[in-house]
């Protein structure tokens, strides 16, 4: 029913009040971003004095000039792209075939292999053994180590496997009778049929990679390999007690706050760009697929 005239007065009140409340909640979700953006464009003095509330005060690009002139910023930005693109591709190369194989009824020991995967959702060795293992494998401080070490997880495999299992068997059978082998069945039939599920998994991989920070911080020592998130964290942690930087602040048109805010804005922009493209998949209920089993 979308015809408001059919509603009683109480219902109209309820509907309107609900819209207002949702609006308030949505705007308060948005507000921190607006605030950060406003700070990033404000003068260092205005920000430090706590004058910024909603719009930039003494509008300036000084913070961005400072951030963008830093080679380390660009280096880490590039690194994040390397980790995100390399990591997502690696993940898909492992996850798609694995999930397909686990969905095949003719796989001997299918229950066992599925358990091998699912068990890791319930029990994992934890931080220290994982770290020591990475060190023993010689995967510290390398692009490859960070990419391969987090290429896979049980959740994504199970989500995709469930989707593959929901595809009617006759698609595979028809392709087989047409002479397709397993690789062709997967690549020419199942992958095109599973676009929404694969898009969801790809999205999860991209988000995890783009935002990943803890293990990058722990595993990477070489400053030239750190991703944006680790760089940002270092800036936040060190800017404030970097005396040299503090000295420049007295004369500089930027401050710790505005520089931090500027880096945050720069790091969010790519997320905002791809967000509308992937958003349509959220409501397809496919996310539920991962909840079950």
């Amino acid at each position: 029913m979308t015809n408001m005239n059919l509603y009683s007065r109480g219902d109209k009140l309820f509907v309107v009040a609900n819209m207002v409340l949702i609006g308030i909640f949505a705007l308060s979700t948005l507000y921190p971003f607006i605030y950060i953006a406003a700070v990033s464009f404000s003068s260092g003095f205005a920000a430090t004095a706590g004058k910024v509330v909603l719009t930039p005060i003494d509008m300036t690009l000084a913070a961005y000039e400072r951030v963008l002139s830093e080679p380390a910023f660009w280096r880490s930005y590039l690194n994040t792209f390397i980790y995100t693109i390399g990591g997502t591709i690696t993940s898909l190369i492992i996850i798609i075939p694995g999930a397909y194989a686990l969905s095949r009824p003719q796989l001997i020991g299918r229950r066992f292999w599925n358990l091998v995967v699912a068990f890791t959702m319930w029990f994992n060795a934890g931080m220290i053994p994982f770290f020591l293992n990475m060190r023993d494998l010689g995967l510290m401080d390398s692009y490859f180590g960070l990419i391969i070490g987090f290429a896979c997880n049980a959740f994504n495999i199970i989500l995709l496997r469930n989707f593959f299992e929901s595809i009617p068997a006759s698609f595979e059978e028809a392709a087989r009778m047409d002479g397709a082998n397993e690789f062709q069945v997967l690549w020419k039939v199942f992958v095109p049929l599973s676009k929404p599920a694969i898009a969801t998994v790809t999205l999860f991989c991209i988000v995890a990679r783009w935002n990943g920070f803890f293990w990058a911080m722990v595993l990477l020592q070489d400053e030239s390999k750190i991703p944006l998130q680790v760089y940002l964290r270092q800036i936040i942690a060190t800017l404030s007690d970097d005396e040299e930087f503090a000295a420049t602040l007295l004369t500089a048109p930027y401050s710790v706050e505005t520089v931090t805010a500027a880096i945050i804005v720069c790091s969010i922009i790519p997320v905002l760009i791809i967000y509308p493209f992937v958003q349509k998949y959220f409501n397809k209920g496919i996310l539920l697929g991962g909840v079950k089993e």
Binding site: P168, S170, F171, E173, A174, A175, R176, M177, D178, G179, A180, Q184, K188, V189, P192, L193, K195
Partner: protein, 366 residues
Amino acid sequence: MSGVTLEKIVKRYGAAQVVHGIDLQIEPQEFVVLVGPSGCGKSTTLRMIAGLEEISDGQLSIADRNVNNVAPKDRDVAMVFQNYALYPHLNVAENIAFGLRIRKVKKPEIAKSVSEVADILGLTEYLDRRPADLSGGQRQRVAMGRAIVRHPEVFLFDEPLSNLDAKLRTQMRAEIKRLHKRLGVTSIYVTHDQVEAMTLADRIVVMRDGRIEQIGKPMDLFNNPVNTFVAGFIGSPPMNQFEATVESSDAGPIAVLADLRVALPKLPQLQTQVGRKVTVGIRPEHALITPQDGANTIPVDLDLVETLGSEALLHTHVSGNPFVIKTETHGDVDHLYGVKDVYVSPERIKVFDGETGDVFVHPTQG
């Protein structure tokens, strides 16, 4: 063209056996329909022929070559699936071409084959469409096109019409028949619908519980069912059956049910069956509403008249047993409401053993 031979084909899933040693010889160019209720093993048998299920025991040959251990793609068979299995991401032309592309057929050759097939099936103007934009009948045609394009030795159909509405089904049935006439490819067709079986088949194989009950031409099965199961399965509406006791009379064997006495065909075996329980079978078409010489007169209680147009079904009771009569209307059904008796010639009556359900036939026929 080539035939298909099944020798003692068995299918087991673990300890459960679902197909119990089927023997079947299918001639080149023949159209054979496997029919039976769900769970009778017809689909499993078809899938074993296709190579989609392993054969647990027995021998399968296609064109005199044993194919037990041959992969589906190398058996030179093509299958039309119940849900068509059309790839939604490919258009009609690509769907038809899929098998050829997989087999690395040259592009100009593929284009030629696809346009030929599209021409045969009347799909030429839909080649660019996606399956989602096609009607049920068109999808069905694409599915057949995908099978035809490969010029296989054998076509396999797995209930291909069951997703269509009644009208389309009739139309597509005729089209499949026409196609078979034109291409002359050996075809094996699975359905649970006896009408499809009757209309399409050169020979029908009636199956039940993993066994073949009877093999024969459609009219053979209709006229001479070997047992009560086939009698009840083939023909629409099914044959009326009721239990009775055999007794002898001056005029020959008769069946007695309460106060009803029905003269039976003069089969010698029946003389020895006096006192035995039998099942008496009368086809709805064979119960006439006008008096006949030498026919049994059977009093019926009319429940309702179903008008179909040129024909009508009279739902009645005979001594407490449901009894259906099919009769011509000649454009008027009013007179049918007055029916009190029907007339059945003894020679038209089938008699089955009360225990085994097997039919008694005349020794010279047997």
